[in-house]
Each structure stands twice: as C-alpha cells, then as structure tokens.
C-alpha cells in the first residue's frame, strides 16, 4: 500500500481545499475543482485513489482525536456525498457518491475506535505487515486456563448446579481480571498516543522519525493483545 506517497495529510488536506492540489475534473477536465466539486460543471469528485482515512478528515496523522470534531466533519462530508442528492445526476456521479460515502463511513468507524485507529495507522506506515504472533507467556497461560474452565463448564451436566455455579464464579473473576488488564493496556496505548502526537507536530513531509517508529513497535505489541482479550471476553460472556 503506497499511501504516504508525497505529501503529508495536512498538506493535502481535504485535497480540494486549495486550488491546484486536486487533479483536474474527471468530467470536464477543468482545473477549477474545489472541495470535491468541480466549479465549472458541478460534478462530484472522487477521493484520490491513494487517500487515507486521516487525510479525508484533515486531522493529520494524530492519534488523539477529538470525537466531537470528528463527528462534525463526518456529518459535513456525509451531507456532501449523500447518494440522495445525486439521484437526478449522471450514473457516473451516482457511483462516485456511493463510493465516497462507503469510504467515508469506513473511515469514520475506524477512526472512532482508538484500537482500530492505531492499527490503521500502523498499517498505513508499515504496509500490510502482520501483528506479532508471539504473546507474553502470562497472558497466554491465563487464556488457556480460562478456555479450559470454559471447556469444563460445557462438559458439566446441566443438573449439577453447584459445580456449574462454582465454575461461573471462576469465570466471572477471570473476566474482571481481563477487563482490568484491558484497561491497563488502553492507558498504555493512550500514553503512546500522547508521545506520538508530540512528535507529529514537528514532522515534515513523510519522514516519520526513528522515535516514532519505535513507538509504532510498542503500539503493535499492545494491539496484538487486543484480539485475544476481545475473544476471551466474548467466550466468557457467551456462557455467563
């Protein structure tokens, strides 16, 4: 994925804000394109093929995002692209409105969640690299223990109320411990976001500093745990 090609998010902004940044209109080839619409023929314009979720909201590659600001921008853009407004326009414009809307919705969903947002940034910068598959032994041991308890519960006869409720208490405690662990991880991630954003304000062009790259490694570590925690919590909740 070659997304951070030449310019940083803030320079490209919503890329039609400044004249000369946007490519010519796909319909009439006019260079007078502003904010996703061609001034000459009024056609709706597609997102650049290599744009990314941060760029369309014009928030730079920052990890702490003001949810209200994000929501506000999301509604603004939603209104701009909404397929209802293009019902009487050409087929090509209808398609662009649909595509832009779908992309926008995905962008909003991704950036709204800190874990997804961070995972997306990692993917943007490092390409489609997978998260590390090694996991701290302590977490793994706990997960195996919980899974074994879940198995025992499934194998325990429905009529054996006492045994079942004892197992459920164990699971309840395990679930609380996992939630605790999750919130600690969230706090750590939050801390890394702060460090990242501090470095981000001084960044020029697409040069992410070594310090930022180190932060990415730490973030990936935390992100790689999130899937296991989600899964085990889901599995516990399914039986409680």
């Amino acid at each position: 994925m070659e997304i951070l090609s030449q310019k940083t998010g803030s320079e490209r902004g919503p890329f039609f804000e400044k004249p000369g940044v946007a490519p010519p209109c796909w319909n009439c080839a006019s260079n007078n394109v502003k904010m996703y619409n061609c001034v000459s023929c009024t056609s709706i314009q597609q997102f650049l093929h290599d744009t990314d979720y941060f760029t369309i909201f014009n928030i730079g590659y920052t990890l702490h995002i003001d949810p209200e600001n994000l929501e506000k921008k999301y509604y603004e853009l939603s209104r701009r692209f909404h397929p209802d407004y293009y019902q009487n326009r050409s087929k090509a414009e209808q398609e662009i409105s649909l595509e832009n809307t779908a992309f926008l919705n995905k962008a909003y969903q991704t950036l709204s969640d800190p874990f997804k947002r961070c995972a997306y940034l990692v993917q943007l910068i490092e390409g489609d690299k997978n998260l590390p598959t090694e996991v701290p032994a302590a977490l793994f041991e706990e997960i195996f223990e919980i899974q074994e308890t879940l198995e025992t519960l499934r194998d325990t006869d429905e009529s054996d109320e006492a045994a079942r409720s004892a197992l459920k208490t164990v699971l309840q405690n395990a679930s609380e411990h996992m939630l605790q662990f999750e919130s600690e991880e969230k706090a750590q991630l939050d801390h890394l976001f702060t460090k990242w954003d501090a470095l981000e304000t001084g960044r020029k062009e697409r040069d992410f500093s070594d310090a930022q790259k180190k932060l990415l490694v730490q973030m990936k570590q935390i992100l790689s745990h999130a899937g296991y925690i989600d899964r085990i919590l889901q599995d516990i909740n399914a039986v409680l």
């Binding site: 195996f144 296991y228 899964r231």
Partner: protein
Amino acid sequence: MAYSDKVIDHYNNPRNMGSLDKKDKKVGTGVVGAPECGDVMKLQLKISGGVIEDARFKTFGCGSAIASSSLATEWVKGKTLDEAFQIKNTEIVNELNLPPVKIHCSVLAEDAIKAAISDYKKKNETE
C-alpha cells in the same frame, strides 16, 4: 465456504489432543496465537534421540485451526527435528483444502512446530 471433509474429520476426531509435561526436558512447548481472530494454539513435542516420538496439541479456535494443529501432530511424529522444521504451511493448506481466508490457521500450525522445536533446543543447550 464449507469446511472440507478432512477438516471436519480432524475437528470431530482430533488426533493427539492434550498436554505433555511442560517441565520435562524432553518436551518442547510452542504457544502461538493469531492476533486478528484471537485463536490460540499450544503444540508440544516429546523428543528422544533427535526424533519426535510424541506430539500433543491444544487449540482454542476455529475448525481450521484445530484441524491444522491436529494434522501437524500427526505429521511430526517419527520425524527428526530437521524434518519437522521443514514442514510448510502450504502442505497443510493442500492436505486440508483450506480456503484463502483460513490460510493463517496453517501458518499458526507451522509457527507452533517451530516454536516447540526452538523451546526444546533452548531447554537442552543450557546444561
């Protein structure tokens, strides 16, 4: 996409499910996981004279992950460490007819074998 018959067979009749004594010097334990879906897999090998004489697995995950690890334990038995190290996830994919979305399950099984072997080696080089 439906699971292949071979996956279903391993799922319903898993081979070598269970645990070996982790503290045994002859036993190498590999624990790996798939962060995307939260599947976890433990694979243990009992090694004697450079040959794998027993293998056990415990996998909490989808049918394909269970089948991949079950198959892996079948395959490694009787192999030397070097031979077992050569097992490729693509061989597991072919044997089980895994669809593209389940390829990571076979990768997990390959990683687990390698992790178990290196755990065994680490355990035995120090003394």
